[in-house]
Subunit: 190 residues, 2 copies
């Protein structure tokens, strides 16, 4: 009896292999052949679902970004504005695992070389910036800092916290990230 | 008459090709063959100077890091402690060109996969941390923030400023980086 593979499951498995490979070695390591090797299949198993490397990358990256959006964007209806901003930033950088940080780093680097990655990253960033800026509108009048500069500071903190784990020989535990964010919230009086 | 190539010049050219390739596409793209192609030579032209890819990477990366140390570590004898700290951080992130930022990103990513990169990056970081911490000793008693947390904040700002340029579709100009740093110096009263 031939082994049957459920289509969504197999497609999901292929896309996860893309994210795993990118997180481990960067997007230049994500070839059709490498992905096929990862899922113990042939490249035909991939072209059955994706007609090009580009469409494969787009689908895999978009799924991963949508997952991140869902995690980060959770509503906190009962929080006041400063608490909602803090929670939003903290959900972005207090990560469940190293893979998501590694994927982010690979995506930022890969976006310099591959348009499909640039487009997906820009889409995510537009959403993230909009989320931050809409929350800052309420807070900015209370701040001594210009709201553009404050938005830049939050951007830089988020990128920096993700990268600092790789820059150091060991990833920063969430506790260390939280300690830094707490100090920043105090400084900013947020 | 055979063309003679001055040894240090040729070695320098090979090492620059390594940094160029890494900055453009990451260290996984730095193969002996790719480096040879870049200098319009054969792989033998490289193995004449370097007996392995590892020794090639180590030499090229160390030279680039030493160059960065020289630029960042310039003495400012006439500055007071806060001004010296500000100047040190600013020399780290107000970069002369995009290539040095791209190289840094590639190094941080590559350090997860290749021991030789991890070792060179750790060496640089140990130096950078020591420079920052020795400058903070004088300042920390004046700060409301714990000096460990302050050192973490400076680390994260530096990494974040370098990455934010790639995260966004266009690199951040030095002016935008300086604007953020100025705001941080005011917040910290440094």
């Amino acid at each position: 009896m031939p082994r049957t593979v459920d289509r969504p499951d197999r497609q999901f498995q292929i896309e996860e292999a893309v994210i795993d490979l990118a997180a481990e070695s960067g997007f230049s390591a994500v070839t059709m052949r490498a992905v096929a090797g990862r899922i113990s299949g042939s490249t035909t198993a991939i072209t059955h679902y994706f007609d090009s490397r580009e469409s494969l990358l787009r689908s895999a990256v978009r799924r991963e970004m949508n997952r991140a959006r869902e995690q980060i964007g959770l509503r906190n209806r009962d929080l006041d504005d400063p608490a909602a901003l803090r929670a939003f930033v903290e959900r972005t950088v207090l990560r469940p695992n190293e893979r998501s940080d590694r994927f982010w780093l690979a995506l930022v680097q890969g976006a310099g070389n591959e348009n499909v990655l640039r487009e997906e990253l820009d889409g995510f960033n537009a959403w993230w910036d909009q989320q931050i800026r809409s929350r800052l509108i309420q807070l900015a009048p209370l701040q001594s800092m210009d709201s553009e500069v404050l938005a830049d500071l939050l951007d830089v903190l988020v990128d920096g916290l993700i990268v600092a784990g790789f820059d150091d020989s060991a990833p920063w535990p969430n506790q260390r990230r939280q300690r830094l964010l707490n100090a920043v919230w105090r400084l900013l009086d947020i």
